[in-house]
Assembly symmetry: C2
């Protein structure tokens, strides 16, 4: 088995949505779905742009898909050589994880089409395609190459006022509806001379039409260069797009490819986990690391990563807690600049979080559950559609999932603790921490009789149970948040006057006095037989098996959660919750309680979220349940190889790649199996290698230097790189 | 129009459930549904017993229906003269409100059956029937008369171990399943001599079979006497039942009837509202007063009244806030002994309320939302069945409708204020008030930053909006409750040491100190353009019309409330909420705000509960919207004439009589139109007579004396009776 690639033979239009994710190319600026060049909307083609959002009417806001600048379609003797139109004799597609190159080969009978495609890691605006046509019969070949506006949109169309331009570079440009962001896509093409050429502008875009007489046995190759710019990148995106794709054409496909491959080589050098002993696992790790690295912001120092990466518009292209809890760890240990960018995004969007808190009548910062540009809350009050009535269902993710602010604080503190770099706290991070803590002070509810503090009416990570009281995870995160705020004084002990000035500026004097008082009074969860109760009253819910709950479904797509869902009134949970708390706070539980919790909650967990298995695996490592950890590791790491995972929430399509699992795979391998712990540039390991694994070897970056962690069954070493 | 009766011509089995309610006989001990004597379960026959409950397996607990001791069925020449079996030529049924006598006349062709029936108001264990058969052909008539166990049960069967006994009185006795309560029903019969007679015991009960040769033109009359006793009434219910029905037989039908009529005469003398000028309204008032008086506990001084009276098992036979807020006013003003009984029931069930509070982690008394015997909470967590999935839906009436305890306190205080009688407070009432106040102290949630006190996660009277914060009605009721607790010291100022001893006994010292502190800090609702916001965030909900919301229904029976219901996420409300607050606390709003609130909320109210129109009408009187008040009065008073009102909540049948509307009709007439106000035995009136009404005349009882309120368009007088 080639552990560096995924290949698929055969073509089934039903798999198009899934394959578009599995064979994705991306470079942090854009994601290019793994669909054939000739694809129309039924095959879900999309070039999804990071950080560019648009809302149509009252539908939800989502990322903008740019026109497809790598559109190519061959017709031979009047017959389309196009998937979806002509059944192929044979079709093969492949993604190479090391270089991020997508390959296809389709035998249509009269002609074979083969292409290599990538989203350049050396120039994030560029996507390239080398398209090779082999003919088995004589006749006229017509290749239509251009910028297609006939793309997939969930809640579109987002672009209007299209204008086209022919010439050496074709150009399509348009405006987004909500904010009038200009989006420009150019395409240039290089091929051997000969044949006729014309330019067509249609409702579907602008195209170059190349006609050639071809002979059986002959080969025709074109290289296509496309560039995307928006007005967020600069004043003249149209000009920049044309310029960039012409420059690429001049440099040529091979030169661009080399630069791209070099960039990927650097990425792998900083992050590759080598796993020996199990090729399936090694491949899954490569897949995970490929997908997470491919969508990391490298062109910006203040972007975060959407929960479905750049694989399309699902999850509204929004930034969730996934960023801080699941993506952040790999980056902070291997490429801290990217970790910094994720947090910078939160610092920049503090005003949005303050506004959201105000909207709910609270003070401080309540980060959006689904954060879009500028920290706009993208989560609606109706996040699920009922499969029986087709009506939107009121869900409370937006209003009640209050742990999000503490999650941001958790990552800010981790960044400082792991890297020893205080600058982020100085550049707004401390302000974020104080405002988040203030939110919890204002959200806290004190009993008037005994002054115990509850956090009532919340949702924890297990979203199936809405509006609960004293979710153990949430209360622990809040404790950590208040504590982090209190410890800031120590962090800034060398500049006490500066810290005092910050408190004054934030009118924080009264709140500062409350921090410690509230902190010590936050309710503690009930513990029964060593098991921590997920929230007040959880143990009183119906205790039935996962199978029993599943058997109550009347429709395979119905939503499990909330008061109407089959799980909502039982102890069946969506994902790790108490165990997520255990994974994030290794010191909270003694080992015997950890084991009791794991044994209690794991069989009651649907793992209905890709955020779940990783938390169970991390905890399993700690208590020596290595076989279970290994299974959960595979489940986590393979998700974007198999393409499994939930595709529907009620009637809403939620498919895409799973960056949280991708990050989770790294976490299990590095933090779980290797027992990696970094504090202030100091590295510790505590290997707990499943018996299948012969060796685990990976780099980390501490204090700007790279080290290699090398672990075998005999033990582990930390080596300078 | 006879304003004293309701008559219906024709028979349609589809109306059986409805007619059983409209033609109900009852006497506080039992309710005898208005169905034909020969009815089998498909026509919903029931003799519903007050205060006797039973639970089968995990179905909900409900009142026990006794075997039908007035079962009668005629066969003529082998053909059944029975509704449901033989289509009648003509069928007529009638309820006489003055005497509570049910009459039927059914022409089957070969024979005409005519009967008079009543539940004795003179001896609550007795039901009687005079059954007259006129024959149009010669032949053999067979009358089967006995105690039928083939009765209607929603969640039954509740009785088992049936034993029968023949003789002069037939007897059927059995045990309830849950608690082994013995239920005994006897029947004796009186008729002219002649013919054959035998006794049959079958699976359906015990029957006397009378055979006669009859001639065309002849008439055969039997009088049937049935008695019901349970082991809650005394040690030997079987013997008591036999004895009672034999004694009645000896006294004869006419003598029993006279005693019964006399008892009803007394009831009407103490409570009848004479309304001149509109017969429809006068009849509706008679109907309302009949139905409420018929189900009032007169045989016990510590019973309350279920929300569907004694018309069957719907609403679990449970006592709701209807008792304190809707039934109590008529009784406290006209028959204070009954008002006392309703409250005595709450005092006796205080331990149940304390247990319920504990169950939820609170101190003090949290009364059941649906109170059964001994204050057991009958409300389940799943009070509605979804029409689409047929699954029970988690509802929060049980856990979140916390105003119930304050409702009890409201009535306790009213009783004391209106009657000037402190004895109820001395006999446990003060204790109830203190424990209810304590519950709110322990439920209160104080903001740690500004000490404002919220009551979060509650349901107000408008049950369509579950789990809201600071429901205006609820917060006002709580304020009133805390205030009532504080004022107890003044009430007992002549015996301070006794009151102090009570506080000590209840370990109330710390709580006493909190009362005033919490009272002054309870959040006040937002007011916008003079309109009080029903709860925090209500104004932000979708503001659309009732018709629009109705148009979104996919099934006429689907439940409107909760997060899945069509109303839950809009401003459409089920019933008066802010307006209920206005009706109960006339001094809270100045008139202009009252008007603004009325005008805002009325069009947004579905009036999906029979508790709604009355509150709007009362408030309408106050602000001079007399035409609207009149319409709402008719709607309220006519509900058990027309039999309209919701029959279904999701998939659950909720039909029955509407005592809250019955009480509401009295309230609108007396408190609204007459503007009656009684304090400490002092009577005030403030007439606001709709122009249709020429005269309104009714008795009240103050300090043990009866007065007549007499109101015309010219003004009002208070006369000694």
């Amino acid at each position: 088995m080639d552990t560096w690639s995924l290949e698929k033979i055969g073509f089934n239009p039903k798999d198009a949505a899934l394959d578009g994710n599995r064979f994705l190319c991306a470079n942090g600026y854009l994601g290019l779905r793994g669909v054939p060049e000739e694809a129309g909307p039924s095959l879900f083609p999309a070039v999804t742009l990071a950080g560019v959002y648009d809302q149509v009417q009252d539908r939800w806001r989502e990322p903008v898909n740019a026109p497809n600048g790598l559109y190519l379609r061959l017709t031979l003797n009047g017959r389309p050589m196009a998937l979806g139109k002509t059944d192929p004799v044979c079709h093969r597609q492949k993604i190479d994880y090391r270089s991020g190159i997508f390959e296809r080969e389709t035998d249509f009978g009269p002609a074979i089409v083969r292409s290599h495609r990538f989203a350049s890691m050396a120039d994030c605006h560029l996507t390239l395609d080398r398209y090779e046509m082999r003919f088995r019969e004589d006749g006229e070949a017509v290749l239509r190459a251009g910028v297609s506006t006939d793309i997939w949109d969930i809640n579109g169309p987002h672009l209007s006022g299209f204008a086209y331009q022919g010439g050496d570079a074709l150009l399509a440009h348009a405006l987004t509806g909500e904010k009038g962001i200009r989006v420009a896509v150019a395409q240039s093409l290089r091929t051997e001379d000969g044949g006729e050429e014309s330019v067509e502008e249609t409702e579907q875009g602008v195209f170059r039409v190349l006609r050639r007489a071809v002979q059986a046995g002959s080969v025709w190759t074109v290289s296509v260069f496309s560039a995307v710019f928006t007005s967020l990148d600069g004043a003249d995106p149209e000009k920049a797009a044309v310029k960039t794709c012409l420059r690429a054409k001049e440099e040529g496909f091979s030169a661009c490819l080399r630069a791209h491959e070099e960039a990927w080589e650097n990425i792998w050098e900083s992050s590759e986990i080598v796993l020996e002993g199990d090729d399936t696992a090694a491949r899954a790790l490569h897949a995970s690391q490929y997908h997470l690295n491919a969508i990391a912001p490298r062109h910006s120092d203040r972007l975060s990563i959407p929960a479905r990466g750049l694989s399309g518009q699902t999850y509204k292209g929004a930034v969730f807690w996934d960023s801080e809890i699941f993506f952040f760890p790999m980056f902070v240990h291997t490429q801290p600049k990217i970790a910094r960018s994720l947090l910078r995004y939160r610092i920049d969007t503090l005003p949005g979080a303050i506004k959201k808190a105000e909207e709910y009548g609270y003070r401080g910062a309540f980060y959006p559950w689904e954060s879009q540009e500028g920290g706009v809350e993208g989560c609606t009050n109706f996040n699920v559609v009922d499969v029986f009535t087709h009506r939107p269902v009121r869900t409370y993710f937006r209003d009640k999932q209050i742990h999000i602010s503490a999650d941001v604080v958790y990552a800010l503190r981790s960044y400082y603790e792991i890297t020893g770099d205080r600058s982020l706290l100085e550049e707004g991070g401390a302000r974020v921490i104080l405002e988040c803590a203030r939110f919890y002070l204002s959200r806290a509810c004190a009993h008037v009789d005994d002054e115990r503090v509850d956090f009532d009416d919340v949702i924890g990570p297990d979203e199936y149970h809405e509006r609960v009281r004293n979710n153990a995870f949430t209360n622990q995160m809040i404790r950590h948040c208040l504590n982090t705020a209190l410890e800031l004084r120590e962090v800034f002990s060398d500049r006490p006057e500066r810290f005092s000035a910050l408190l004054r500026e934030l009118h924080y004097e009264k709140d500062w006095a409350l921090l410690a008082r509230v902190l010590e009074r936050i309710s503690r969860p009930r513990v029964k037989n060593g098991v921590t109760e997920q929230f007040d009253g959880y143990f009183d819910l119906e205790d039935c098996s996962l199978d029993m709950v599943r058997s109550r479904l009347r429709d395979p797509r119905e939503y499990w959660g909330g008061d109407h869902g089959v799980a909502g009134t039982t102890q069946i949970i969506k994902q790790a919750d108490v165990i997520a708390m255990a994974a994030l706070f290794p010191d909270v539980f003694p080992d015997d309680q950890l084991n009791a919790n794991w044994a209690y909650y794991e069989p009651r967990t649907e793992h209905g979220s890709s955020l779940s298995a990783c938390m169970y695996a991390l905890t399993a490592c700690r208590i020596g349940r290595l076989e279970e950890a290994w299974k959960l590791f595979l489940k986590t790491a393979e998700i974007d190889v198999s393409g499994e995972g939930k595709q529907w929430a009620g009637e809403i399509y939620i498919g895409g790649t799973h960056p949280a699992s991708n990050g989770g795979a790294w976490m299990i391998a590095a933090l779980g199996f290797a027992g990696l712990k970094m504090r202030n540039g100091r590295i510790e390991i505590n290997p707990r290698l499943p018996k299948t694994v012969k060796r685990l070897r990976f780099p980390v970056t501490a204090s700007g230097k790279r080290f290699i962690i090398d672990i075998t069954q005999a033990g582990g070493k930390i080596l300078p790189a």
